[in-house]
Symmetry: C2
Subunit: 716 residues, 2 copies
C-alpha cells in the first residue's frame, strides 16, 4: 500500500534515522560539518570553501531584495530571472520601443540602460554570530521588556555596522530567538539592464503555467552592476564603471541529466518547518480551511455586489485577483499538507523528541520550558478567530480613516519612536495608498464586504468580541447594515482631495472632526492599540521561550547524527540535492528535463503561449550546436531538481558538482506549495531554466555574441 | 527536433517500409497471413486458430450490440463493462434496492435477474466472403441502380441466412465496396445480471475521468446467457438453463507489466482510416472546425435564450449536454489530427501510392478509375456547406412536423418499400420521440436556434440555397425572424395530444391542414426528398468507384510487405500490440499500470470520486493476496496498451501471449480521440480494467467466491 508505506518512510525520515539529503536551507557556516553528506551526494568541490561568504562561489551570489542573482563575469555581469527584472524592463519600455514585448539587447556597454534609481544589488560581505551581544540585556526580562531589549540591541548593532559607508546591515534571528547573526551587505546602486528575452520567452505560459510542470519558460535576464570610479557604490552616473565582484560563477558547458548532483545558493524568504506540532495543527486544521472559506465567500461577495456594473468590476478587479491568488495558494498548501499527512507526521516527530528529551540530563527544567512556550501558544490561540477576522473589518476607505488617525497619533512622537510603518520615510507610501484607493473603491461593494465580515464577527464567542468594534458596528447584522449605511453616507473621505487633506491634520483636529468614518476610526483606535500591545507582549514571550523548544529539537536531531538548518529568513542559504523526476500522482511521471518540442506543442499564437516567430523558426531549423543535449538529441529548456527552495530563491544560481552554473531557479511545482511548512521529499521540486537554453538563445535566436564571449562561452 | 523527427518517422511507417505492429483491426481470416508478425510480437499460440470464429478464443467473444463481451465459464458466464450493462442494472434498481449505487451480487443462479426483454448477446458463428454473389447484378450499372442492386442482393442473402431460426444475419461491406461478408450470429435472448460493482467502483471518476489517464475505474459486470431446455435461444423463462458456449476464455493469474504482448478481440464500430487524402483534408480543414464553430455558437444561443428561466434551462439541459459532448469530441479529434499532421501525412502517403501505381501494369485504367472517384468526391464537396447546415433547420418541433409529414407519405407504400426508419417497426420509436419532445421543447429557444442556423444558411453561396427553404424562411435574417414568429404562433403541434393525433393522419389530411408548421413541412418535403435521392445516387457511385482506390492501396501496401485491414464496421476484429506507457506531451510520461493508491488520491467522498468505504478500508488493510503485483507490491487497477480500438470495443477481452484473459477494454485516452481517422502510434492507447483488480474485488471487497470458483480462480 503505497500511501501508508511512503508516509511511514517520511515519518521515519523526519523523526529519526539518517537525514534525507535533500531537505535543508543551510547557513554557509554549516557546510563544513555537512562535508561527508555533500561528498556522498556527489559534490566534487571543497565543502569548507562554501562556508565563506566572501569567497567563491558564495561571494558571487547576491540579493536583489526578494530575488536572488549572481555575478557571471569579472566585469559585474549579473544573471537573474526575467520576472525579477520586470520592473527595470517596464521602466525602459515605451509605446515605440516595447522591451517587454520585444526583449532587449544592449549591443555595447554604452547601450546598457539604468534599471532605475531604486534598483539595488546587495553583496553579502559579513555573516557573523552575535547572539551574546543581542541577548545580554534581555536576560532576566520577560514579555514586552524582553522584546524591547532585543530590539534595542539589534538597532545598535545595525547602526554600528552601517557606519561603514555603502553598506546595509541587519540582524537575523536564527532558530526562533536562539541565535542572532549580523548580516553585512555591500549596497550597489547603479544597476543596468543588459539583456532580456521577449516576454513570450521570459514569461512563456505566464499564470497558466505558473507552479506547473512540464515548463517551457526562458525566465532569465542580464544586469550589470556599476560603481564610482573609486570602486565604491554610487548612484547612477554616466561616468561610473563596471563593478569588479569578489567572485563570479563559471557557466557550465557540460550536459545535465537525471540524478546529477545540484546545489543552489540564494536568499529564501520564510519557512515554518520548525514550528511546533500544535502550530502545524492550527495551520492545517484551522487557519488554512478558515482562510479558504473566508476568501471564497469574499470573492462571491465582491462579485455579487459588483454584478451588472462595469465600473465596480473594474474597481475591484485587482482586489479580486489578489483574493483568488490567496485562495489558490491556501488551497494548494492545504492540499499538500493533507497529502503529506503533516499534522500526524509532525505530532509523532514532536512526541518522539519529547520522549527522548525526558531521558536527558536536566530533562525536568527543559520540559518545563517547553510547557511554558506551549502555554503561551495556547493563549495566542484563544483569540485566533478574533485575530483572524478583525483585519477584514477595516477595508478600503474605512481602513484609510484608521491609517490617517494612527498617523496623526504617531506624528506626535519623535520620528525614531514612531511605530514601524508610520515614520517619516513611510509617509509617501501612505499617501500613495490614499491616492490609489480612488480607483479601487466603491461604497456599495465596501459595505457588502463589511457586512460579510461582520457576519463572521458576530458569530465570535462572546469573550472574543471587542467593545469598540461593537460600538461602531452594532451588535447584530441588522444593526450593522443600518450603521454601515450611516457611516458611508456621513463621510467625505470618498473624495480624494478630502482624503489627502486629512494627511495634514493633527490628532486634535481628528478629535474635532464630524466625519462619520473618522469618528468610527477614533472609536476603534484604543482597541487597535490595546490589541497591538498585547501582541507585542506575546511576541516577546515567545521570543524568550521558543529557544528551549528549538534547542531540544536541535539536540534530538544531533543525537541522530542530523544537523538542523534555521527556518528561512531572507539570509544567504545553500541547499543541495539532485536533478529529479517527480511522480505527482499514481500512474504519472514528470521527466526532469523539458525540450523545445514542448514550446511548439504549447504554442497557440495567443498570449501567454505566443512563442515568437524567430524562436519557432530556430526550433524548426533544429540547429542547436553545442547546446544540444547529447542523449535527447535536441535543445532542453527547463529542468527540475529536488532542491530546497522557497519564495526569494527566484533567480538563485543552480550549480553542478564542480560548482559551475547549470541553471537559474525560477519556480516550484504545485505539489510543493506546502513546502513552506513541510518538506515532503516525494513532492518537493524546484524548477530551473537550463543554462543551455539561455546559451542557445544568445547564440542563435536573439544573438548576443559579446555576452557569450564575456562569459567565455562557445559562440554557438 | 522531436516533432519533425517523429512526424517523418510516422510518415515512413504509414507510407512505406515495414508496418508498425500496433495498427490494425484485423478480420479473423487475415490472422494466418500475419503469423510471422504475431509471433515476433510475442504471441505464443497458433495464429491459424485465430482465423476460425467458431473455435476458441474467438468463439468466446460476443457482441452486445454497441459493446463487446466474452464467455468466461462453460456455463454461460459473460463479462463485459459496467457501462455496457448500465441499462440492465438500472432496470433492476428501485428506490429501496439501488443496484447502481450499491452494486449487485447474485448469491445463487436463482438470484440472477433478467437484464430485460430487449437484452441480447450475439455469438458470431459465420463470417464468409460473398463478394461475387453481392456484386453480380450490380455489374455494368451505375449510381442509384448500382446502389439498389447491391441492396437487393444483400437483403436476399440476409433473408436466406436468417431462415435458420435463432440467428441474425447481416452483410458487411469491407474495403468500401470491394468485398462483402455474410455475418451469421446466434441470437441469445435470455440475459441475466449476475454481478455488478457499485457505481463508485464501476464508474469511478465518471465524466471527469472519461478519456483520461491515469484511470482508476473498475468498469466490469457479469452477465449469464440462458437458453431453452433444448439448448436453443429463447426469451426469458424461469425454466431456461445456462447456455453452454462453444468456447470460453480462461482468466490469467499471471502478472501484467510494461512491454507484455497483448491482443484484443471485439466489435469496433466505425473508422475512416482508408479514406482519401481529400477526405482527410475535408475533415480536418473544413468539417471539424465548422462543427466546432457551429456547436460553440449553438450552445451560446441556447444558453442565452434560456437565461433566467429555470424551465427552459431544464428543457434544454440534455440537448446542451449533447452539444457539449459533440463539441468536445470534435475539438479532441481536431487537436489530435493536427498534432499528427494528418493532412500532410495522408497526402504524402497517397501521392506515393499514386506514383507507385503509375509504374504498374494497367496503370492508365487504374488511375482513371481513381480520378473518377475523386471527381465524385469533389462533386459531393460542392454542396458541403449546404449539407452541413440543412439538418439544423429542422430542430425539435419543426423536425417533428417534417417527420410526421414523411411518415404519412411512407405509410402510403407497402411496408417493405418504406424508407428505413419509417417502417411499421419504427413507428413506436417515432411516437416516443414525439412524446419526449414535450419535456425538451420551448418555442422561444427553438426559434433562437433557428435564427442562429438561418444566419449561416443565408450566408451560403447562392448556388447552394434551396428554393423550398427560402420559401419557408424568407431570404434574410429580418424576414426569417418574422416568419419564425408566425410559424410558431400558428401551430398547435406544441400540444402533445395534437402531435400524437397527427400520427394517425394520412397524406391528404396533411395537405388540407392549416397548421403553420405542418404547412412549412409540406413545403420542405419535395426538397428533402430530392436531396435524399441525390445523396443515394452519389452513394451508389462511390460504392461502385471506391474499390479502385482501395485495390490500389492494398496492392501498394502489399508491395511493401504489409497487409491491410478493412475500416471498422461493427464486425469481429482482432488487434495486437503491447502493454505501453505514453508520453502525452513533452516532459510527461504516463505509466502503463495504475494502482489502488490512485483511488485513495482521487477520493473526495463526493460523486464521482466517492470511493466506497469497504473499498477504502480494504485498500488501507493492504491485503491483496494473489492479485498483488509482484513488482509494484500493491494492487493494480487499470492498465494501458497500444491496441487498436474504437467505439464498440467497450468490454472487449484483452488477452496475453497465451490467449488468457488479462483485462477488459473500456476507454481510450484523450490523445487518441482522433484515431478513428488516423492511428498515430505515438498517442493511440487503449484503457483496460486489470483482471487482477476484478479478482481482488470478488475475493476481498464485494465477495463472490462462487464466481471465482466457476472461473477456476484462486479464492484470494
Amino acid at each position: 500500500m503505497r500511501k501508508r508505506t511512503l508516509t511511514v518512510a517520511l515519518a521515519m525520515t523526519l523523526a529519526g534515522g539518517a537525514a534525507h539529503a535533500d531537505e535543508g536551507m543551510w547557513m554557509p557556516s554549516q557546510l563544513p560539518q555537512l562535508a561527508a553528506q555533500l561528498q556522498a551526494a556527489g559534490f566534487k568541490g571543497d565543502p569548507a570553501q562554501l562556508a565563506d561568504v566572501t569567497k567563491p562561489p558564495l561571494a558571487a551570489v547576491v540579493s536583489l531584495g526578494g530575488c536572488t542573482a549572481s555575478f557571471v563575469s569579472p566585469e559585474g555581469l549579473v544573471v537573474t530571472n526575467h520576472h525579477c527584472a520586470m520592473g527595470a524592463i517596464q521602466l525602459n519600455s515605451t509605446a515605440e520601443k516595447n522591451l517587454i514585448q520585444d526583449g532587449f539587447i544592449a549591443a555595447t556597454r554604452a547601450d546598457e540602460v539604468s534599471a532605475g534609481p531604486a534598483s539595488r544589488i546587495w553583496v553579502t560581505v559579513g555573516f557573523d554570530k552575535i547572539t551574546d551581544r543581542i541577548l545580554t540585556d534581555a536576560k532576566g526580562k520577560t514579555g514586552r521588556a524582553y522584546y524591547d531589549a532585543v530590539d534595542a540591541a539589534k538597532k545598535t548593532a545595525v547602526a554600528e555596522c552601517e557606519a561603514d559607508a555603502g553598506h546595509r546591515c541587519s540582524v537575523a534571528d536564527m532558530y526562533y530567538g536562539s541565535d542572532f547573526y549580523l548580516i553585512k551587505q555591500l549596497e550597489l546602486k547603479d544597476i543596468r539592464l543588459v539583456y532580456a528575452p521577449p516576454r513570450a520567452i521570459g514569461n512563456y505560459g505566464d499564470e497558466i503555467d505558473n507552479f506547473m510542470w512540464p515548463r517551457h519558460t526562458g525566465d532569465f535576464t542580464f544586469y550589470r552592476a556599476y560603481v564610482g570610479k573609486d570602486g565604491k557604490p554610487a548612484a547612477y552616473s554616466k561616468d561610473n564603471v563596471p563593478y569588479a565582484p569578489p567572485a563570479h560563477l563559471t557557466v557550465s558547458t557540460a550536459p545535465v541529466k537525471a540524478g546529477d548532483f545540484a546545489m543552489l545558493a540564494g536568499y529564501p524568504g520564510r519557512t515554518f518547518r520548525h514550528r511546533t506540532a500544535s502550530e502545524f495543527a492550527g495551520q492545517i486544521d484551522w487557519l488554512l480551511p478558515t482562510r479558504v472559506a473566508m476568501y471564497d465567500g469574499l470573492i462571491d461577495t465582491v462579485e455579487q455586489a459588483s454584478a451588472g456594473s462595469k465600473a465596480k468590476q473594474v474597481a475591484y478587479a485587482s482586489s479580486v485577483a489578489g483574493y483568488k491568488n490567496t485562495l489558490k495558494r491556501a488551497q494548494g498548501e492545504l492540499e499538500g499538507l493533507r497529502r503529506s499527512d503533516a499534522v500526524r507526521v509532525r505530532r509523532e516527530d514532536e512526541a518522539a523528541m519529547l520522549a527522548w528529551l525526558g531521558k536527558q540530563p536536566g530533562a525536568k527544567a527543559k520540559l518545563a520550558g517547553i510547557r511554558a512556550m506551549q502555554a503561551e501558544l495556547d493563549a495566542d490561540d484563544a483569540n485566533r478567530e478574533r485575530d483572524f477576522i478583525l483585519p477584514f473589518l477595516r477595508p478600503g476607505l474605512l481602513g484609510s480613516a484608521v491609517t490617517l488617525q494612527r498617523l496623526a497619533l504617531e506624528r506626535g512622537k519623535p520620528d525614531a519612536q514612531r511605530e514601524t510603518g508610520f515614520q517619516q520615510r513611510d509617509e509617501a507610501l501612505i499617501e500613495g495608498g490614499l491616492k490609489q484607493l480612488q480607483r479601487r473603491y466603491d461604497p456599495e461593494v465596501e459595505k457588502a464586504t463589511l457586512r460579510y465580515a461582520l457576519k463572521r464577527y458576530f458569530a465570535l464567542p462572546a469573550g472574543q468580541r471587542v467593545a469598540e468594534f461593537d460600538a461602531v458596528f452594532g451588535s447584530n447584522e441588522a444593526e450593522a447594515a443600518q450603521r454601515l449605511d450611516a457611516l458611508y453616507a456621513g463621510t467625505r473621505l470618498g473624495d480624494e482631495a478630502t482624503r489627502l487633506d486629512a494627511l495634514k491634520l493633527d490628532a486634535s483636529a481628528f478629535a474635532a472632526s464630524d466625519d462619520a468614518l473618522l469618528k468610527a476610526a477614533a472609536t476603534l483606535q484604543p482597541a487597535l492599540l490595546r490589541l497591538e500591545a498585547e501582541a507585542k507582549q506575546r511576541a516577546g514571550e515567545l521570543l524568550r521561550l521558543r529557544p528551549a523548544y528549538m534547542q531540544a529539537l536541535i539536540a534530538y536531531r544531533n543525537s541522530q547524527g542530523r544537523a538542523v538548518y534555521p527556518d528561512a529568513n531572507s539570509t544567504l542559504r545553500i541547499s543541495y540535492g539532485k536533478v529529479s523526476p517527480l511522480s505527482p500522482r499514481d500512474g504519472m511521471d514528470y521527466r526532469p528535463l523539458t525540450t523545445v518540442a514542448g514550446i511548439v506543442e504549447k504554442a497557440t499564437g495567443v498570449e501567454p503561449f505566443d512563442a515568437p516567430k524567430p524562436l519557432l523558426d530556430a526550433i524548426a531549423k533544429g540547429d542547436f550546436g553545442s547546446t544540444a543535449d547529447p542523449e535527447l538529441k535536441t535543445q532542453t529548456v527547463d529542468f527540475m531538481t529536488n532542491l530546497d527552495t522557497t519564495g526569494g530563491n527566484s533567480g538563485s544560481p543552480v550549480l553542478d558538482a564542480q560548482g559551475k552554473l547549470i541553471g537559474l531557479n525560477f519556480d516550484s511545482n504545485w505539489e510543493a506549495v506546502s513546502a513552506s511548512w513541510m518538506f515532503d521529499p516525494r513532492y518537493k521540486r524546484a524548477i530551473h531554466v537550463d543554462m543551455r537554453y539561455l546559451r542557445w538563445l544568445l547564440a542563435k535566436v536573439y544573438p548576443a555574441p559579446h555576452l557569450l564571449q564575456e562569459m567565455q562561452l562557445p559562440a554557438e
